[in-house]
């Protein structure tokens, strides 16, 4: 690594490295002199690691080091992939796109009742959390996604989720997508 590294960047590096979970900007700021440009230092630190085997990632308001995704195969020798059911993934996507959302609304969107374990599984992973209640009769609990969800799916922020247009462009909404441009019956 080239040249002297500013003290603030070294300290951030050590703080993020020594933490057992993502560290919030608020927490990081506490350790640095007032007036430090935290965003700039974090951006510089992320750039330092861009090509390394470890990367600095942002998830919502928090930052953490993780291993580079392209090394997965070499690292994952022991880690077996946890396969998530379709029900769980669809429920998670619905919560991510429609938050805050009630259980009944999720069921309505999917046209099927949620089995007991689905929200439980997503909650246990730390991917969803309650977000108060909807002020309607029965005051149902609202669910939303967490920063841990962003981190787990390598998203910086919710707005990084692909829009319906992005999904179409990526071919995930074929073949009925975009009838204006694609003649009907095209594969």
């Amino acid at each position: 690594m080239s040249g002297p590294v500013p003290y603030a960047r070294r300290l951030l590096e050590a703080l993020l490295f020594a933490a057992d979970s993502p560290v919030s900007m608020r927490e990081l700021a506490k350790h640095l002199p007032d007036g430090t440009d935290l965003e700039a230092h974090l951006a510089a630190l992320a750039a330092d690691y861009a090509e390394r085997g470890i990367q600095l990632v942002r998830s919502g308001d928090s930052w953490s080091f993780v291993t580079a995704p392209d090394l997965a195969a070499a690292l994952a020798a022991e880690a077996g992939e946890r396969k998530l059911s379709r029900a769980a993934m669809e429920t998670l996507a619905i919560i991510a796109y429609h938050q805050p959302i009630t259980r009944a609304e999720i069921e309505d969107l999917r046209g099927v009742q949620l089995s007991g374990g689905t929200l439980d599984l997503l909650f246990a992973q730390g991917w969803i959390a309650t977000r108060g209640r909807r002020e309607t009769p029965g005051r149902p609990v609202l669910w939303g996604t967490t920063d841990e969800f962003l981190r787990a799916f390598s998203l910086e922020r919710l707005s990084d989720l692909p829009s319906p247009e992005d999904l179409k462009a990526a071919g995930l909404l074929q073949p009925q997508a975009a009838p204006e441009t694609a003649p009907a019956g095209e594969e």
């Binding site: 995704p69 997965a72 990526a170 995930l172």
Partner: protein
């Protein structure tokens, strides 16, 4: 370090990922599998995709026919599982009749069109969410494609105790744990009746004491059925054993008999000290 969606990340193979398997071609072509579908709306969406037109332009009549045909040939393992599919079938049949039959009242015809449009919108919405789920699945995932720090290690000295960190999810999970643990805690319950009394045991021992000279096992003074009860793990057996032991202690205090136990948990022996047939 961008985490925005890379198109390369969500290749076309993702499109297959979200679709349930096509109706299985089993031995009997008139029976189709319903297992791969997440409810009636999911089945309807899969059938709609076969029309290969925009979901908002889809022919609801054709879709209703497809669905009803599918349900007619479907095999349901469980009746409550079938119910939700059948409710949808009934609704679609109704919708179809609304769309087909010339309505006596023009507002009725409009209602049919509205219901069809609402269904198209619902299908389009679910379609987007299924695509979103597929896109999520294709993203690099923590613990699968990349990994967190294995251990949090700072050079000594360890941080001094400071403020504590906790969040709402942790709080709720903690309360759920309390409620779960509480639900699982069984209060101690005892079977009613069948308890041996010490008085009865004293009377029984007095009756048979001194039949044989010298030390005898305490077991000899148990009622006949005790051993069987103990073998079955019944509390009544343990009660008789406890009552008998307590009775011998009582009688030893009175000087009627002597007790001997060579080691902790070893066998207990009883010896009559004087003839005790008659109560004092």
């Amino acid at each position: 370090m961008t985490a925005s969606l890379d198109r390369a990340d969500i290749g076309v193979e993702g499109a297959t990922d979200r679709s349930p398997p096509p109706p299985a071609e089993g031995a009997d072509p008139f029976i189709v599998a319903i297992d791969g579908y997440e409810g009636p709306l999911d089945l309807l969406l899969a059938l709609a995709r076969d029309q290969k037109v925009d979901l908002l332009q889809i022919s609801i009549q054709a879709l209703a026919d497809q669905y009803l045909g599918f349900i007619r040939r479907a095999q349901f393992a469980e009746i409550e599982f079938a119910a939700e599919y059948l409710v949808m079938a009934a609704w679609l049949a109704y919708l179809k009749s609304r769309l087909l039959l010339p309505a006596a009242d023009p507002t009725e015809a409009a209602d049919g069109e509205e219901m069809a449009a609402a269904l198209q919108a619902r299908l389009a919405q679910l379609d987007v969410m299924q695509a979103a789920a597929a896109a999520l699945r294709l993203r690099p995932r923590l613990g699968v494609h990349f990994f967190p720090r294995g251990a949090a290690t700072a050079q000594e000295p360890r941080p001094a105790p400071g403020p504590v960190r906790a969040d709402l999810s942790g709080l709720i999970a903690a309360y759920a744990a309390v409620l779960k643990a509480r639900a699982q805690r069984q209060p101690l319950t005892l079977e009613a009746g069948d308890w041996a009394s010490i008085e009865q045991a004293i009377a029984r021992i007095r009756r048979s004491l001194g039949d044989a000279p010298g030390w005898e096992s305490l077991m000899r003074y148990l009622p006949a059925e005790t051993m069987a009860l103990l073998r079955e793990g019944r509390l009544a057996g343990r009660s008789q054993l406890a009552a008998t032991l307590a009775a011998t202690l009582e009688l030893a205090k009175e000087g009627v008999l002597a007790l001997r136990q060579a080691r902790p948990f070893g066998p207990i022996f009883v010896k009559a000290l004087r003839t005790a047939q008659e109560p004092e």
